[in-house]
């Protein structure tokens, strides 16, 4: 009996002998440098099943790329073409001489909460924008001690004030009833009507239920016609119809907060018709959510690798196909992650979205409010935003100066009044104090800003109130803030 080795020799030789010398096909060498494989493989013996396994992941990757491209195209379509920011004069072609004086382009009177007592405002003061003079001063009716918020209607003489009980704790006064001194007592609201003829400001109590404490009330903004008051409760917005006391609420379903970053001006802004409310919505989370997102991506990739390994172990699949699948899956994961981070950066933790809420539309979720612009987390942004009364622009302060964004495209339209305070003059290493926009006129042609161009003090720049028109800053007389202004409204 022959050995296994002999049987192998005989069998392989028998198999080899099936190829006779005269049956060798002629050699077909390629004419071109890369013609060999095509000449041989294509199209003579193409096995479609060999390529089908590769076509699927390639097609999947191509589909993802197509979706991303289409999404970007759609996004670009809706955003329009960005116009570079430039001097204000370029975007305001109207001749300056046809405009009224800068100070005359804003409401004639403004109100301020001032007179700090432990950071609380004891009085509300009505000022003249043209002269900066004090025209009237009111104090909260007893037993209320402080004003917490103030907001103006568009008629330049109607304001709403929020007031609260408060008792400053002086030396030896510890142990007083908490309801007399803390900030948990309910907020009450007063309408303040200023009479320019007599320079008298009168307060009238508003019939708003005392259900909101100052702790929960983050700000308020009166509608232009003075009939509705929007209250910021941190995670929700409540609009109260002053005549009837009717309340409508919208709630933010996620984390973070609702309001405005630095509302020395107003926490919200309305369109002139009183239908649309603009607000900032800052996403919650931060590093935790970012880590969770990265963990999700890493987990998905790990799952892909594990699936490939298991498939390789238990399923007979060509390694090239598996590799193609793995690459396609990883590419899809990475592309989707990048897409989410890029196109959907409004969802990113810590990002600040400027949203427009249609208060006439049904629904009670603030998630339905349209995003018109997103400031990324960690970006050079940290101030308030205002909607122009015509609803066409969002105005805010950025490192480029006062910048106006289109509410239609979300793109910057113009930047003006770039002012960089030299902190090093005061021995500080850094800290650019941006301007703050307090009021915006129609089309953003006239703005009231708080600007750090005043005479520097010992601890920082000198802040000056002024009107910005066509990149021209006109100070409000006596508008230098010596620290008495807590809140301002036009």
């Amino acid at each position: 009996m022959s050995t296994v080795e002999d049987r192998i020799r005989a069998a392989t030789q028998a198999a080899a002998d099936t190829v006779t010398p005269g049956s060798v096909p002629p050699l077909r060498l390629p004419e071109g440098r890369d013609g060999a494989r095509r000449q041989h493989r294509w199209p003579l013996r193409l096995d479609p099943r060999r390529w089908s396994g590769l076509l699927v992941p390639v097609a999947a990757a191509a589909a993802v790329a197509g979706v991303v491209a289409a999404s970007l195209a759609i996004s670009a379509t809706f955003r329009g073409t960005a116009r570079p920011a430039g001097p204000a004069g370029q975007s305001h072609p109207s001749p300056a001489q046809l405009r009224p004086a800068p100070l005359a382009q804003v409401p004639r009177y403004f109100a301020a909460l001032s007179d700090r007592i432990q950071e609380q405002a004891q009085v509300a003061v009505v000022y003249s924008t043209l002269t900066g003079q004090v025209l009237a001063t009111v104090t909260p009716p007893r037993p209320y001690q402080i004003f917490t918020w103030v907001s103006a209607a568009a008629d330049d003489r109607t304001f709403v004030l929020a007031a609260q009980r408060y008792w400053p704790i002086a030396s030896g006064q510890a142990g007083m009833p908490a309801e007399n001194r803390d900030t948990t007592t309910p907020t009450v609201f007063f309408r303040m009507t200023f009479d320019p003829a007599t320079h008298v400001a009168r307060l009238a109590r508003l019939a708003i239920p005392e259900t909101t404490s100052r702790t929960h009330l983050a700000g308020m903004t009166l509608s232009p016609d003075g009939t509705r008051l929007a209250l910021d409760l941190g995670q929700s917005i409540r609009v109260v119809t002053l005549a009837t006391g009717a309340v409508r609420s919208w709630t933010w379903p996620g984390g973070g907060w609702i309001g405005n970053s630095k509302p020395m001006g107003q926490i919200f802004s309305w369109t002139a018709d009183g239908t649309t409310l603009a607000f900032q919505q800052r996403n919650g989370g931060g590093e935790e959510l970012s880590l969770a997102f990265l963990a999700a991506v890493a987990g998905t990739l790990a799952a892909v690798v594990l699936t490939v390994m298991l498939a390789r172990r238990y399923v007979r699949v060509r390694r090239a196909h598996l590799l193609a699948w793995a690459i396609a899956a990883a590419a899809i994961t990475i592309v989707l992650a990048a897409h989410v981070l890029g196109a959907y950066r409004s969802l990113a933790p810590g990002a600040t979205n400027v949203r427009l809420l249609d208060t006439t539309a049904p629904g009670n979720s603030l998630a339905s409010a349209r995003i018109v612009h997103t400031f990324p987390n960690g970006g050079a942004f940290g101030t308030n935003t205002l909607l122009t009364p015509d609803g066409s622009r969002i105005v805010t302060a950025t490192p480029q100066g006062i910048t106006e964004f289109s509410t239609r495209t979300g793109q910057p339209i113009v930047s003006e009044d770039q002012f960089q305070f030299d902190w090093q003059r005061l021995g500080w290493a850094a800290g650019p104090p941006w301007q703050e926009v307090l009021w915006a006129g129609p089309g953003g042609h006239a703005l009231v800003v708080f600007d750090p161009r005043g005479k520097p003090g010992r601890y920082g720049p000198g802040w000056v109130l002024g009107v910005l028109t066509g990149n021209t800053f006109t100070p409000v007389p006596h508008g230098t803030n010596d620290g008495t202004f807590l809140q301002l409204t036009w």
Binding site: T18, P21, A36, R37
Partner: protein, 184 residues
């Protein structure tokens, strides 16, 4: 002046190196194609696939002829190319068989009708068992008992050490014997 320099046709100075390459590769084909196709048939059990592999090997040699410093290494290159091509073709065959879920063994399904007629039943059983071995074991046996190569040559072809060749061949023989005994 530099600005008056005329641009010479670059291609005019490049000799046509394809002519000698074509002649050399054709000569090698005439001398070794039969043996390499036979090697491919033994490895794959499929005449058409073996011809494809050999054809690709010669095309590859032709395309890379300019980089071949020693013409004596052309044949080892071709053998390596054929063996590599057989591995790839074998993987394609295996996935094809898996998809078709054929009950028959690899050799029976892979061999052409002509080969099936010419190879006797006894040899077919051995070949079927040979093709059920892992690729490395199959290669080791074919190189050792069909081509009659010594262990250093096999090690060079397979890119492994001689010790690995010994152990692989030993395991392959044991496995092949077991498969032959288990065959109906």
């Amino acid at each position: 002046m530099g600005s008056n320099r005329t641009r010479e046709p670059v291609q005019a100075d490049v000799p046509d190196r394809r002519g000698p390459a074509r002649e050399a590769v054709t000569g090698l084909y005439q001398a070794h194609a039969l043996g390499l196709i036979r090697l491919g048939v033994v490895m794959l059990g499929d005449r058409a696939a073996a011809e494809d592999v050999v054809q690709e090997a010669f095309c590859g040699l032709f395309l890379h002829w300019a980089r071949l410093t020693d013409p004596a290494k052309a044949l080892p290159y071709l053998r390596s190319a054929v063996l590599n091509g057989c591995r790839s073709a074998r993987r394609r065959q295996r996935s094809q068989h898996d998809r078709l879920a054929l009950a028959a063994g690899p050799w029976q399904t892979a061999e052409s009708a002509e080969t099936s007629v010419l190879v006797g039943e006894e040899h077919r059983q051995v070949l079927a068992a040979l093709h059920r071995l892992p690729p490395r074991q199959r290669e080791a046996l074919v190189l050792r008992f069909y081509l009659g190569l010594a262990e250093p040559e096999i090690a060079a072809f397979m890119g492994v050490s001689q010790g690995t060749v010994k152990s692989t061949t030993s395991r392959a023989l044991a496995a092949l014997g077991r498969l032959i005994r288990e065959a109906p």
